[in-house]
């Protein structure tokens, strides 16, 4: 111990050798949160008569490594809203804590948690927009499902830039390429919502997840699905993709070792 406060608690060179600080970038801009680390892939959702269905698989990847295979990426908020997260998992957990404290705060108010999915989406999109404006983004693309103030089914998206949009069916990441065309074909936008049943919507999501499992290399066959109706949120977190058929794979030519 000596009288230099800045050295207190530091490893002594005579015991540990000189500390190799080369990996610490001490000059230049801050680089944390400039790219995601552990990530979740697509979230998909569709509106139906009297509610919304939303699904995501249970995988958190570290680059191409399937790192965590039991991560729940759907979060229930209040009694009629669900948030689906894709993108950085640690940022998801941070937002999850924000929502937890928001929920507690709301529940202390006179009427309990009155926030609907629309309010929740506005809140989250403003959090995301603020963070992107500080150049310290929360690296997520989220879908919010539930009801608006008129008790009508609500489904909307917000991304790391704070961009928001809503449509009768939404998907993030790879799902935007693979699931959206399937959902648009099954439920054309001119078809009224009243003609889409809860069962059809749920089955469509399961089918889309199967296609994603076939074609998205960062996906998993274990998934969560939540169905939000006036009765409440029905969430199943340990689903498995059933009736798989890899017969199509045999006919694929032109990749890997086999070229003809």
């Amino acid at each position: 111990m000596n009288h230099y406060p800045e050295v207190w608690g530091r490893p002594r060179d005579d015991i540990y050798g000189p500390y190799n600080s080369s990996y610490l970038q001490t000059t230049g801009p801050k680089t944390h949160t400039q790219s995601p680390a552990v990530t979740g892939t697509s979230v998909i959702a569709v509106k139906f008569n009297g509610g919304v269905a939303i699904a995501a698989d249970n995988l958190a990847s570290y680059g191409s490594l399937a790192r965590f295979t039991d991560v729940k990426r759907l979060r229930v908020f209040g009694d009629s809203a669900v948030v689906g997260f894709s993108g950085d998992v640690s940022d998801m957990q941070y937002i999850d804590r924000l929502l937890e404290s928001l929920d507690i705060r709301e529940n202390y108010s006179t009427h309990g948690n009155m926030m609907n999915a629309k309010n929740l989406h506005t809140y989250l999109s403003k959090v995301l927009y603020k963070r992107r404006s500080e150049f310290n983004p929360l690296w997520n693309h989220i879908l919010v499902a539930g009801f608006d103030e008129d008790k009508k089914p609500f489904l909307s998206s917000a991304d790391l830039l704070g961009t928001t949009y809503s449509a009768p069916h939404l998907a993030t990441g790879f799902g935007a390429h693979l699931a959206i065309p399937i959902l648009r074909r099954l439920f054309p936008e001119e078809k009224p919502l009243e003609e889409i049943s809860k069962g059809e919507a749920e089955a469509a999501l399961r089918e889309c997840l199967k296609v994603l499992w076939y074609r998205d290399a960062r996906s998993l066959d274990k998934y969560s699905i939540a169905v939000i109706t006036a009765e409440g949120v029905e969430i199943k977190e340990d689903q498995v993709i059933e009736a798989q058929s890899w017969a199509f794979a045999e006919s694929i030519r032109g990749y890997g070792a086999q070229v003809n």
Binding site: D13, S22, G28, S35, P137, T163, Y165
Partner: protein, 261 residues
């Protein structure tokens, strides 16, 4: 003992390592805070009205995010219905900035009414919008805004902006991804550019046709034609056409479908 403490760098003297500056090159930031959500907007004024229109497609690259994401907003009205508004704003470019800009201007117009007890004039609102944009000169709202309303004399007023707040009152303006397709059409059909009075002279003596305010039906048809043509040639434009017509009777909103391909 005391003497060697005096000459040597403190870290060596005490035998501890402090963080050292490295000569590693500066890493490039990989986060880009903007995106282009595509789409196009268009505004035309007449003698006693102004029209603002925009398509309702929202894109990200080659993906269509949504087929109904409005770009034209009522400013200073009721939050849900927009009732009581007398100014309209269209924003095209980066949708998140557009949303933020719209909400700020909306708050400003409302605060003006509470503080002054009268609605904000379009001229004042136009100047204020320019200031809001310029305040973010070095991290701009990446949008092309068009503001419309009726001026003090009841004539249609239209102001167009660049992302950092330069603005101008005009008769017509197209903005967004298909602006380069629509604007020349407007120059010709609204301001009668390259139109001459037949047999009024030879060569340079030929008399140009004088622009004059167009009737509402003509303007509405021009807007429809401009957008149906833009949809044919620009992939980011389509799905639906949202038109807002502001007259002394209030704001009328008209939605018509466009091609969804």
């Amino acid at each position: 003992m005391m003497s060697f403490m005096g000459h040597q760098p403190q870290s060596q003297a005490v035998g501890y390592t402090f963080s050292q500056p490295t000569n590693a090159p500066n890493k490039e930031h990989s986060f880009y805070p903007y995106t282009d959500n595509g789409g196009s907007t268009l505004g035309i004024t007449g003698a006693d009205f102004a029209i603002l229109a925009g398509d309702t497609r929202s894109v990200a690259g080659y993906n269509i995010n949504s087929r109904y994401a409005p770009k034209v907003f009522k400013i200073g009205g009721d939050d849900d219905t927009g009732e009581g508004a007398h100014i309209i704003l269209s924003v095209v470019g980066f949708a998140a900035d557009g949303q933020a800009l719209k909400e700020r201007l909306d708050a400003v117009v409302k605060m003006y009414k509470y503080q002054h007890g009268k609605p904000m004039s379009v001229r004042a609102c136009a100047q204020r919008l320019s200031t809001i944009l310029y305040q973010k000169r070095f991290f701009p709202y990446y949008v092309h805004a068009i503001l419309a309303g009726l001026d003090e004399e009841g004539k249609g007023a239209l102001y167009s902006y660049d992302p950092v707040g330069s603005y101008e009152r005009e008769q017509c303006r197209a903005a967004g991804s298909a602006a380069s397709l629509i604007m020349p059409f407007l120059d010709n059909q609204v301001n009668f550019k390259n139109q001459y009075i037949p047999s009024s002279g030879d060569g340079h003596a030929l008399e140009p046709k004088k622009p004059e305010p167009l009737p509402r039906e003509t303007v509405e048809q021009l807007v429809r034609d401009a957008f149906t043509s833009a949809v044919e040639r620009h992939i980011e434009v389509g799905d639906g056409l949202q038109m807002m017509v502001i007259t002394q009777n209030g704001i009328e909103e008209i939605y018509t479908p466009l091609k969804k391909d």
